[in-house]
Amino acid sequence: MIDFPAILGHEGAGYIRAIGRSVKNKSLRIGDPVLLSFATCGTCKPCTTSHPAYCTTHASVNHNAVRIGDRSTPARLADGTSIRSQYFGHSSFAKMSVVNEMCVVKCDYPDKMDIYAPIGCGFQTGAGTVLNVLKPGKDDSIVVFGLGSVGLCALMAAKYISARQIIAVDIVQEKLDMGKDLGATHTVNSREQADLAKTVKDITKGGATYAVDCTGTIPVIETMVECLAPLGTAAIVGVPPADKKISLDPLSFLLENKRLIGVIEGDSDPQEFVPKLVELQRQGHFPIEKLCRTYPVANMKEAIHDLHAGKVG
């Protein structure tokens, strides 16, 4: 999907240094602190009906890392080699970046910009899936598989709207402890379960009303469907490997009237949802500061290693 060389990074936060003449948001000023989110085509049906996260060209518009209109890219090396540099419209692994206007959300609280940066993707994905799409009620149960930032944000959102049971599933004990700390009513270490679906059904007395997979792994997605109660909805949120398939039993799926949906970016409209999450953090309902660790650019390798080792969200 993406050509190389490329500059990645899609959860940027920084200050505006220049503004193009026809940028539509006329309230932007040089020096404004901003958070950066995903790009959209702006013309498809979801884009024009306030569901920009569901843009039908989301994958290519964001991952191709080139401008939408003419496929050009702003960056090049000194020797002229072109570098793809509009990843998600903004390529944030750079000191300065040329950003598509639609990715820009004003940040009213630049003092905490470091923890607000990931709202642009990971945090709004987890929180949005629960707050915008699934919306568990006070009698509902929700299972979250995978306690990275996306899963933990889904958990925090579920606690915020007072879901009755919030079951957190992971294989790393520290993650499960964090899940408990952030509001899970039950934690399950899936490595210790012979039959994970049965464990969930026992806890929920019949199955979960909602389930969210944030692992993107085939066996977990399949188990997620098994865990549902009749009429339950499961959301695929974590990115699965390309060209792999899941298998499910369509007869029981039918007889139990289950739903399986894919949700990109938590169906978020960043202009409205990013500020909302910033507010929730300031009110203490969304303690994302517990998920973040800041590393200087020179320690990028260490940061990525810690991310994959599960040491940081």
Partner: protein
Amino acid sequence: MQTVPAAVPEFIRDPKATVEHVEDIAVVGNLVNLVKGDEEQNTQDRKSDLKDIKTVALVVKEPKADFELQDVILDEIRENEVLVEMKYSGICKAFSSPDFN
């Protein structure tokens, strides 16, 4: 909303299509209005070219390669774009593993 032709081109609709990418378009007379501080947006247009901005970035040369900090040059800012000095960036596991793509 982004002004994009209503008929979205084929290569955008198919994310896996391999298409010749257009490189380094030379835009003649790029007009950028630098809005400073509290100045009204509709003061006379200042035709200043903001081009060839030198900066540094973490570049990935090929799939599965490491991130390397390198000098890069940004060609220009278009009229629907903004130049942002990045202070922080999140690293998302799904798209930062060298195995992705």
